[in-house]
Symmetry: D2
Subunit: 296 residues, 4 copies
């Protein structure tokens, strides 16, 4: 299968590598082209523009930072929309807002192209191992045509409806729950530390209750102040929480805890932690950054 891939951040690169390994042909593009070098070395073709990356492929996969990046790459003058053939499908795996997703869907419809919103759960190493989870929404035939891609990269595909923005909303909700858990751990750690209790002791108790491997992994990372290398940059997590709150507000859904959570992310950004793993957020909100500063 010939696949276009736009967006070569860490996740995009891992996806590309896995797709090549699975035997697919790949055309890749990134705003800064040098990020394409490793994939080109493994056999991918370099596209100089998004339009070019979308031309003559069956599927176009995008893995970009935010609404604006997606709209620039798709809807710009040399954007992918103009390159994609009628009948080809755009699989948008970026975590974007539902309004942006809706605009994309309308544009693809008008161009007789397919559009599947398919954000993912999992970090780059899950992509490399084909262990992602896709949250997909779109026309069922379009989803069907994405199967080879989903199977190469993921272990499971959760279909949440035929209206693409739904997948984006589910992803925002999932990240909100995850971010809340991280911040709750951070605040609880600060509370117990102030009473002489080691974070890992507390984690043992709380995860003895919750028994979540993901909570356990985050809990250890935070307890050890092991925020480098980053698995998911705080600036991206901040964007996701912001999108969740804004999406709620657009639908007139009060989200008071999410809104407070959002402020903890802004505070962490203000501390210059945007490129650090997002699990650092609770250290900033509880003013425990001296601890962070001593990270090895």
């Amino acid at each position: 299968m010939k696949i276009g891939l736009i967006g070569l951040g860490r996740m995009g690169q891992a996806m590309g590598k896995r797709l090549l390994a699975a035997g697919h042909r790949l055309v890749v593009h990134n705003r800064t082209l040098d990020k394409a070098t490793p994939l080109v070395a493994e056999g991918a073709e370099l596209a100089r523009t998004p339009l070019e990356a979308a031309s003559d492929v069956e599927l176009l996969l995008t893995m970009l930072a935010d609404d604006r990046a997606v709209e620039d790459m798709l809807l710009g003058e040399r954007g992918a929309l103009r390159g994609l053939s009628a009948g080809a499908v755009h699989v948008s795996s970026s975590t974007i807002g539902p309004a942006c997703s809706r605009r994309l869907g309308a544009a693809h419809d008008a161009a007789l192209q397919g559009y599947v919103a398919a954000p993912v759960l999992g970090r780059p190493d899950a992509a490399l191992g084909g262990e992602l989870v896709f949250i997909a929404a779109g026309a069922l035939d379009a989803i069907e045509r994405c199967r080879p891609l989903f199977e190469a990269l993921g272990k499971k595909t959760e279909i949440v409806g035929t209206d693409p923005p739904r997948a984006n909303v589910v992803k925002l909700g999932a990240n909100l729950v995850l971010a809340s858990m991280i911040e709750a751990l951070g605040e609880a750690y600060a509370l117990v530390e102030a009473h002489g209790i080691a974070d890992e002791t507390f984690l043992r108790v709380v995860n003895g209750l919750l028994q979540s491997p993901v909570l356990g992994a985050y809990g250890k990372r935070i307890a050890r102040n092991a925020f480098e290398p980053s698995g998911f940059e705080l600036v991206l997590g901040a964007k996701d929480v912001r999108l969740a709150v804004e999406t709620g507000e657009s639908a007139i859904v009060p989200m008071p805890m999410a809104s407070a959570l959002r402020e903890t992310f802004v505070a962490a950004l203000a501390e210059g932690l945007g490129e650090v793993d997002w699990s650092v957020v609770g250290r900033a909100s509880t003013r425990r950054l001296t601890t962070v500063g001593s990270t090895p």
Copy 2:
């Protein structure tokens, strides 16, 4: 072993039943004495005052609602402190604040009595099945003497230090993390519902990620608006979150998300939901109570 038990709410009653079944002798007391009837029917002895319940026992177990109830039962004129023999141990399983726990410890020390703070994780049915988890702190020999009690009621005892208030702080932290997850689910449900997505669909995705049985159980309860019968009353959860925030403030630990969470509990109390299962909190904060109103 002869054990005094003060506090016969649903958890206290379940503990009493289990202790009798394990062959211990039990003297029970409750502010409203009629709550003792079921246990007396199963062989427990009725004490008319806390002092009486503490007299001539090796262990005194208390399972009360809050700081004030514990202080009333222990430190009042006919309080348990005056009844307990030197050398006997008070096991306090109530979720109370560390300051109250410290005052209790000092009083017991002065009376040459042992004191172990041992709040529990688990609901009444876990007590009945001997499946609680104890979070214990206190002098090691005092903890040692509580072993038969811990073994009858629990499947695990996490010892978090020799200073009793630590166990209370760990318990507050654990409930804070749990309450945060519940509220996060509630807010995320409101967000996805507003976009036409069923709560259970969302839960499948998010718990596919987190894989926590406890999150799964709460998630189902909330999705189904199955808040009756209550497993843990909202008024108690509200108290725990308040204690966590106040304990943080006393130690000058900012807890911005916990503070917002606390307001969601006050708002739910203001809606008259104090006796409902605490997992209803997110319905109140997101103004989704019409849904709750339609609970079967």
Copy 3:
């Protein structure tokens, strides 16, 4: 002077009336044209499109609800930008975000038109009486050309810079302070009421301290639950607080109290209070709406 006026909500109508009274010639447009009837009856000319309203005028005044309305009216196919002569000035009095203001400014620059951001403080009756305060930013010569308009409608013009978005930010900040004061009053009223103290007694004390006529007027309105007729709809206030928080976030400024304030507005919207005077917000946040329900 010939002036175009787009946006005939209550504020726009009051401005139009005053401008006519001051002897200016007026061309008016509104999305729903029937709102123009009263002004046409007083001598204004009706424009069927924004383009038409902007043609052949020296100044174009816009008084619209939000970013989207402004962009639709200005930048659309039959938008005002295409009608405005080179050298004419667009005075934008809507409360919009700085990013939107910047886009407008760039568009007008490219068209060799002037652009002054000039949001106002004051309610419609202040416009009718020529008592508004303009917060203006833009090129000094453009501001100079707006003088007759400022003088007809306002008692004071605060010039806050030459970069138009600055005026928008100042206006957002001012509304944030005002909204905070309103919510603080609402929460304090609930607190004192719960202790048997009349709102007006409390107001007498607090405004004895602060001595602000505006605080006094809002305080009375809230104390008397006199939310109808609305002076400023809650849905507009909600938008302004949201814009303030989002503008802060874009500049990486944590605004934790503003963020909580924002949620109180969303909660009030969720209670269906969007068209009520924004001073009702504290009644919703403190769950005192039964009181509101009994408004005469």
Copy 4:
């Protein structure tokens, strides 16, 4: 008149000085006795215990930091309650919670002593100039007997009921409104600064609207980072906001904005700003402390 005065912080000292100047006889006590030196030099009599300070006086005035200090001074073994004559009146001007005030009232009732809760608005220099405002509640005859004291120290006495805790609640509410305005200014300043606008420019606009001399004075102080010398220590303001939120929670009044405000104070305490003027709070919440650091 012979007056006992307990609590010689800056406000207590100013009150004492003014009372002496007005010709009253004064017996003074403070936890750390050396603070009494200046007043003794001006003719006050030194009391070594609270009991002694309350003996043989007509009025006992207390001006202490918090609930605990008041209870220690009044209800302890050598506390003032045991010294005060039947018929004498305790005027409590400390900002304390209503529950503490109620306990005091009951104790004085039992001892046939009068009790008037009379917290004040105004800073030490207002006390020196006899310009305080008293918010008083208590039995009318008891209030009547305090008149000479109120007249010496204040320019106005607002009587808010016969139940003493009401005065405390009104004071907490007033400080909540004031603290909210300070934080709102702090957040708005950060917002406008980030867009290149000077704080004082913004203040001119916003106080052109609100026209509050108190807001103007705080606004200038913050704009100039003139937090030293402190007029009212942040640690005291933090306590007041905490008391307001806790008092609300006890009465099941949600106060979401106040709760967020409270966190901003805790965050400022965590930055070590407890002894700085409370108007610094917004600098901490918006992470603008580098600016504060450069205070002259």
